[in-house]
Amino acid sequence: MNSPPETPPTAGRQAARTDVSDADLLTRHIAGDPHAFSEIVKRHRDRMWAVALRTLGDPDEAADAVQDAFVSAYRKAESFRGEAAVTTWLHRIVVNACLDRMRRKAVRPVADDELVEAAERDTPVPDQTAEREVSMEVSSALKLLPADQRAALVLVDMMGYSVEDAARVLQVPSGTVKSRCARGRAKLVPILSHLRNRSDRSRVSSAKGAELRDG
């Protein structure tokens, strides 16, 4: 299944596992290896967290969604058919868990009074504030989009996945992903224009050129 690890035996299990593919780990999990699924979680949790956090815009909701997703994946590992990458499968579960939560209730706004209060009282390091502010603005802007457009933009524009990968995760044709991204971006322009005016004055011509070229 995999070549022998080059590390000494005492480095053992941990070193060997990094060589094992996700699909093999999933197979081992199904076969009863109690450590295999933990390794899958460890490998992918940061990306899953990012997807959930950006899709839901709320850390508590995102934590619940990722937990639901991993528990479901753990239980239903047999449903993985191997026609897609394990990561695609996991992304699909996480994205669906997020969309499921969005469907069931309106997500609470991120800001909470105490955080705002603390932020007003103390002046933190400027660049971190700016970054946090932009991140919050982007989060709240994304919440104004329909769920399908939001999910597509999170995968393609924020996480940097190819349109094809996003299409596999969302289980829709590539053209649909492109169209959702296009409509989502068009909606975001007026909402986020003030951020752009503040932070980027020099990129106009090059960005325009890139878009024209890509178009």
């Binding site: 941990q14 109690p34 699924f37 933990s38 979680v41 460890k42 949790r45 956090l53 950006r54 850390p59 619940d64 990722v66 937990q67 991993f70 528990v71 479901s72 753990y74 239903k76 579960i93 669906n96 969309l99 499921d100 469907r103 069931r104 909470d112 105490e114 209060e117 603390a118 932020a119 103390d122 390091v125 946090r132 932009v134 982007v138 329909p146 769920a147 999910a151 524009d157 996480m159 289980q171 829709v172 492109k178 169209s179 991204c181 296009a182 409509r183 971006r185 068009a186 909606k187 975001l188 322009v189 986020l192 752009r196 980027d200 990129r203 960005a207 325009k208 878009e211 024209l212 178009g215």
Partner: protein, 298 residues
């Protein structure tokens, strides 16, 4: 932006994605060549893409990672016929329904909340630091950090530590769900109100400024009680110093990192009823490395 003279953002976005038919695309391009406002709109669209791409995506907070490990450990217990610790997740069919964003809203249905108060199965804290994704530790710190960790602290020692510190009992081990015969107990910490005692943990978490503004219980609550005199006596002096400055005793101290640098997070109640904590961050020489600020506990 619409009408005969300009194209709207959606058309321009579709052009950029190559979604327009050849004839329409040609027409829009010809227009773009002579129309500055539409060119600006196209640039705005590109800027939105750049903004989204540039928005940082933080790593999963340790509290969330631990929670998931616990849930999976509970799931493993259940799977092996133990019948305890089942964490309810939404039904698979619910979650994986096709095109869920286009279906009608479901009846309100909450997944069971994570049982936080009962004894829980093993927490796999060993993941922290294995690959550096959870707690990036600077090389010079590795030795100290490793020495500080007491992953497999015997239960008796934990009991003593708890008796001394009087805030929290946390036993952890490297055991995973595979070892059902051991049942480490995790008690959620009760905030200490005594002025003399504080809970001392060594999460070795690398805190960001943003995390220190949010809810801290998840980071510090499930941490490891430390009992290491060589390390802690120095720390105790420092905590004493900080306490004198603040004018009261802290309720929790966590040894970890702040923006990659070794740091101790010292927490004072600001207003316990309002769930407000005052966060002081000090470096190895007890120097203040972050302006004291408020955060929440739960």
């Amino acid at each position: 932006m619409t009408g005969d003279t300009h194209y709207d953002l959606e058309i321009l976005a579709e052009l950029a994605e190559g979604l327009l038919d050849a004839a329409t695309a040609m027409r829009v391009r010809e227009h773009l060549a002579i129309c500055d406002p539409c060119g600006e709109s196209l640039a705005d669209l590109a800027a939105v893409r750049e903004l989204l791409a540039a928005t940082s995506t933080p790593a999963m907070p340790m509290g969330v990672a631990l929670r998931i490990d616990r849930a999976l450990a509970a799931e493993a217990e259940n799977f092996r016929g133990g019948g305890i610790g089942l964490v309810e997740a939404p039904a698979w069919d619910d979650m994986m329904r096709d095109a869920p964003w286009e279906t009608a809203p479901l009846p309100q249905e909450e997944p069971a909340p994570e049982p936080e108060t009962r004894p829980e199965p093993a927490v796999r804290l060993g993941v922290v630091g294995d690959d550096g994704t959870v707690t990036p530790v600077t090389p010079s710190r590795r030795r100290t950090a490793a020495r500080r960790r007491r992953w497999a602290m015997p239960a008796a020692a934990a009991g003593i530590a708890a008796a001394v510190i009087g805030a929290t009992v946390v036993t952890t081990s490297m055991l995973s769900a595979a070892d059902p015969e051991r049942e480490p107990v995790i008690a959620r910490p009760a905030p200490a109100t005594s002025t003399a005692d504080y809970q001392l943990t060594a999460s070795n978490w690398n805190y960001t400024d943003q995390e220190l503004r949010g809810s801290l219980l998840d980071y510090i609550g499930p941490g490891l009680i430390v009992k290491d005199s060589s390390d802690t006596s120095e720390l105790a002096r420092c905590v004493q110093q900080v306490s004198e400055k603040v004018g009261k005793a802290p309720f929790a101290v966590d040894q970890g990192f702040y923006n990659g640098q070794e740091a101790n997070i010292v927490l004072f109640w600001h207003n316990e009823a309002k769930n407000q904590v005052r966060v002081h961050v000090v470096g190895p020489s007890c120097e203040t490395v972050r302006k004291p600020a408020l955060a929440s506990w739960r």
